[in-house]
């Protein structure tokens, strides 16, 4: 099966200068001469959120949100939230056991369920529990994601924005408002001394309301929450099927490694390779703040938008070796981040990266965390994941982007 495809440049970057080699992308992302260039039209959904602000405002917002990603917070989240959520989603699969005793599932749907619940926890949205509620919530996030990427839409953009704003009202009534109300109540109890800080939820919305800034407009937490929900769920959902198919093929070609399916270090390296090769978003845009000449001589004028194409940059042989286009969990990436630009670069580097890849040991005497990719892959192997040889995964037809649409699996040990 073909599991690694070349990037077809998306239509929205036609006519924009774009960069495909590692060195230029690195230079642009690091440079102080560029600012965020994506999400110009999607202000109603993402406006003034962390992703769209720059310089001092970005530094302050990132500083405010950083405690969500402290070592203790990551450990708490991994053990108290992530692992139970993965386990319960797998247990729910048992209900679909067929007459021959087999548990079959679609990996894309299973991972979407897991990630909807996981992203709800980190953002601070309650009640994403039953399958029905999870499906409703997930559909909202997908729609909000469409609104947030309206720039790339082939429909009339203002029609998309008004349609999604209407849909967002449903999300606000059903999920967002009750979650905020509960948090405000808990924060009041904390302020009056009836609750300790440790008993407050550890999520984005609690943090924002606890440290409210009068310069914010009332809807900013909603837009920030939208960013967190879209950024955390759709990206990881994209990565897991790629990781599992690569591991499946790797074990077929290297049967001696099959025992490593429970080896967390091996799974971690495999996860890095999967996200290096398969990017959830094909291009990142930046705008030049002044006339710039890159080291390779390319000139960019003040105000010009440029696109960084991560897929080719992450397969640059100068950095990742002659087999850069291939999946290789033993790759030596001593001179670069093992995931390349999967999490972007510079100031806007993904704040959630440590949730996904885990935090390698910060200090000399602790283990760090493993992250979502390793924990989900590990749980799937424990559940005895197998592909169905008669019904292999297929790519989605809904977009030209590198994503699976159907991924039938058998969980033989459930």
């Amino acid at each position: 099966m073909e599991t690694i495809r070349d990037l077809i440049p998306p239509p929205h970057i036609e006519g924009i200068k774009h960069f495909v080699d590692f060195a230029s992308v690195d230079e642009i992302l690091r440079s102080k001469n560029f600012r965020q260039g994506s999400h110009q039209e999607s202000q109603p959904f993402f406006g003034d959120s962390l992703l769209t602000i720059d310089q001092d405002a970005h530094f302050e917002r990132r500083r405010l949100q950083a405690p969500l990603f402290r070592k203790e917070a990551l450990e708490y989240y991994e053990h108290k939230e992530l692992l139970p959520l993965i386990e319960s989603a797998l247990q729910e699969c048992k209900e679909t056991r067929n007459e021959s005793g087999e548990v079959r599932a679609d990996l894309c749907a299973l991972v979407r369920t897991m990630l909807a619940r996981i992203s709800a926890v980190t953002t601070g949205i309650d009640g994403v529990d039953s399958q029905e509620r999870t499906d409703a919530f997930r559909t909202y996030i997908e729609q909000l994601g469409t609104g947030a990427t309206v720039e790339w839409s082939t429909e009339d953009h203002s029609t998309v924005i008004s349609r999604i704003l209407k849909i967002r009202e449903g999300f606000v009534d059903e999920f967002y408002n009750p979650s905020v109300a509960r948090r405000l109540d808990l924060i009041n109890k904390f302020r009056s001394g009836d609750l300790s800080e440790d008993d407050l939820p550890r999520d984005l919305l609690t943090l924002m309301y606890l440290h409210w800034n009068d310069d914010w407009d009332d809807e900013l937490p909603l837009r920030e929450a939208t960013l967190y929900l879209v950024a955390s769920s759709q990206t990881t959902t994209h990565a897991i099927p790629h990781l599992m198919i690569h591991l499946h093929e790797w074990f077929e070609e290297h049967p001696e490694d099959y025992e490593k399916r429970f080896d967390r270090e091996f799974l971690k390296r495999a996860g890095h390779e999967a996200i290096r090769l398969h990017l959830p978003s094909p291009a990142l845009l930046r705008i030049a703040l002044k006339d710039v000449t890159l080291s390779n001589g390319v000139e960019i004028s003040e105000g010009e938008r440029v696109a960084c194409l991560f897929t080719p940059a992450n397969r640059d042989e100068k950095v990742f070796g002659a087999d850069a286009r291939k999946f290789n969990p033993y790759r030596d990436t001593a001179n670069a981040k093992p995931w390349g630009f999967a999490f972007g670069g510079g100031e806007h580097t993904c704040i959630g990266r440590t949730l996904v890849t885990g935090l390698s040991a910060r200090t000399d005497n602790d283990d760090g965390t493993d992250g979502t990719l390793v924990n989900i892959a590990h749980a799937l192997f424990r559940a005895g994941i197998q592909l169905d040889p008669n019904d292999l995964p297929t790519y989605t037809e809904l977009s030209h982007h590198d994503a699976y649409g159907r991924f039938p699996i058998i969980l033989k040990d459930l």
Binding site: R30, R62, N335, H348, R362, D364
Partner: protein, 67 residues
């Protein structure tokens, strides 16, 4: 943490992207050097720097700081 109760503060220069966010929160501990990556300016910082070190390490967009 070293045996003498000081922090083994380091910046992984392969990961650092020179954002200088660490310098903004802890100018006594970091500076951005010649090659546009951060450098630790205070060898073996003691316990009194613990909060600052943790804040810088967590805020660092690329999580290049270990201690």
């Amino acid at each position: 943490m070293k045996k003498n109760n000081t922090f083994n503060l380091k910046v992984d220069v392969e990961i650092c992207q020179g954002t200088a966010y660490c310098v903004r929160v802890a100018p006594k501990l970091f500076k951005v050097g010649q090659n546009s990556t951060a450098e630790v300016t205070k060898a073996d910082p003691g316990q009194e720097f613990e909060e600052l070190i943790i804040e810088a390490a967590t805020l660092c967009p690329t999580r290049a700081i270990t201690y």
